[in-house]
């Protein structure tokens, strides 16, 4: 869910730039290290970024008939970690603003925070925790992707509520109001994206499990365990 150009008043759009900056700078630093260490990383990250862009510009099948796009950043975070995903998300968001008219330039800071930082960090934490606890991989991926979507939407509602607190009840009333209005489209969307990403995972595991092992997303024993019953 993108906040449109011109919608966030000062000082909020500047504040969100300042909050997002350290994450993106750390991501850039990680990117620099990664490229220096393993030259093959750059082209692979590039296709991953393009993949996130294309995935987020496809229309998901939706129940309500409203316009719904997946964020795609949940999958990015599971595969590449949250900080590099934030750099990819920054580039993807600039392209979305310029190519598809989603989002904007002054609201870039706020959008990077909700879609490129909050969502991916949640997805990554849930995925890592789920793997450690030994929960079923697909359930974990479903939870990671759909909760990342939900947290993106909650953070966006928070950003709007902070900028426009209600006269009576202030921030909380405002948050509840924005939350309810957007929940109609965002909650079903989060569930569908969770399902889709879990299925995507299933297809990748059945076709090229070696990629996931190389990216350190799954251990070889985990792949064998998942593929075991099917084979």
């Amino acid at each position: 869910m993108h906040i449109m150009e011109g919608f966030l008043p000062g000082p909020w759009w500047q504040i969100w730039f300042l909050i997002s900056a350290p994450f993106v700078i750390y991501g850039l630093y990680q990117l620099k290290m990664l490229v220096r260490e393993r030259r093959e990383a750059l082209p692979l990250l590039a296709v991953a970024g393009a993949f996130i862009f294309v995935l987020s510009s496809l229309k998901l099948p939706s129940v309500t008939g409203s316009c719904s796009h997946p964020t795609g950043t949940g999958l990015g975070a599971i595969l590449f970690g949250p900080f590099i995903t934030s750099v990819l998300a920054l580039i993807v968001l600039i392209y979305q603003a310029l190519f598809l008219a989603h989002g904007g330039l002054t609201t870039l800071g706020a959008n990077v925070f909700s879609m490129g930082i909050a969502g991916p960090i949640i997805a990554w934490l849930i995925y890592r925790a789920g793997m450690k606890a030994g929960i079923n991989t697909f359930v974990t991926v479903f939870l990671a992707a759909s909760l990342a979507d939900l947290s993106t939407y909650i953070v966006t509602s928070m950003q709007l509520a902070l900028a426009f607190p209600a006269e009576v009840g202030g921030f909380m009333t405002s948050l509840a109001a924005f939350g309810t209005v957007f929940a109609i489209t965002q909650v079903p969307l989060a569930i569908i994206e969770g399902l889709v990403i879990a299925l995507v995972f299933k297809y990748i595991i059945s076709a090229r499990p070696d990629l996931l092992v190389r990216l350190n997303v799954l251990s070889e024993s985990a792949v064998d365990r998942i593929r075991g019953p099917a084979a």
Binding site: R39, A46, V47, A207
Partner: protein, 255 residues
């Protein structure tokens, strides 16, 4: 699949105008719009840049209007919330729903109007940049701004691969539609997931191919590109200065 604005940018009427000037104009308009406390400056920016895009850059009106509906739907939803929540000033209109007292006040109406105007102005300025400046030319500007080399290389490669992957996605989707992939909701979920997974694997293989191609051409961690420099004409500079002056005057002058 949606329209990629970049397609129009390559053939627009303002293609020859200096990139930095267009970027400066667009970004200044965005800033003026967001800093303005009255709706006049953003409305002026929205209407004038809209005219510039349609008349000078010769973008079809229908496409421009269709583009504007995307931000408008978001802005209207949010403005309704703001209209009912924020307050101050006298009540213009009030009613109660399920025991909740809802009221539209003078100040909340002003705020909602200002936000609509800002979104309109800001999006028009954004469309101005998007529809008149091909992304390829942005990379030169990024280099001038001394952004990290890795970031620029990554942006260039992502830009290139977006078009390849969109082509793949359309091909896969067409094949699925022909085989009744999207007939029921259940089918479409599974077809969409298959599309996304195959797209990921295809793009990964493309990435490996790309690395091999780059290695064959002595890739050493840096992509060098030749740039053709051109200076903005003094007429264009003057026109931009006069225009920005008008916008700033509208911003400062109280309504």
């Amino acid at each position: 699949m949606e329209h990629i604005l970049d397609d129009y940018a390559h053939t627009n009427g303002l293609r020859e105008v200096d990139t930095r000037l267009k970027l400066l104009l667009g970004c200044s308009c965005i800033l003026i719009g967001i800093l303005s406390a009255t709706p006049y400056a953003p409305l002026f920016i929205g209407i004038s840049l809209g005219c510039a895009v349609v008349l000078l850059a010769r973008i079809p009106v229908g496409i421009y209007l269709r583009l504007l509906t995307v931000p408008v739907s978001f802005a209207v939803t949010s403005c309704i919330v703001i209209l009912l929540l924020t307050g101050g000033g006298g009540e213009i209109w009030a009613w109660s729903v399920l025991g909740q007292h809802l009221a539209v006040t003078a100040e909340s109406a002003d705020l909602a109007l200002l936000l609509l105007a800002r979104t309109f102005g800001g999006m028009s300025a954004l469309f101005f940049i998007a529809l008149t400046t091909p992304a390829v030319e942005l990379f030169g500007v990024m280099r001038c701004l001394r952004l990290p080399q890795e970031f620029i290389d990554l942006s260039m490669l992502i830009y290139r691969y977006i078009f390849i992957l969109i082509g793949e996605a359309i091909a896969i989707r067409n094949a699925q539609v022909m085989r009744h992939g999207y007939t029921t909701f259940r089918n479409s979920i599974s077809a969409f997931s298959m599309l996304a997974a195959m797209l990921f694997l295809r793009s990964w293989e493309k990435g490996e191919d790309l690395l091999r191609t780059m290695d064959a051409r002595c890739y050493d961690g840096k992509l060098s590109v030749i740039e053709q420099g051109c200076r903005p004409s003094s007429r264009a500079l003057c026109a931009a200065a006069v225009y920005l002056g008008t916008c700033i005057a509208l911003m400062i002058l109280p309504g």
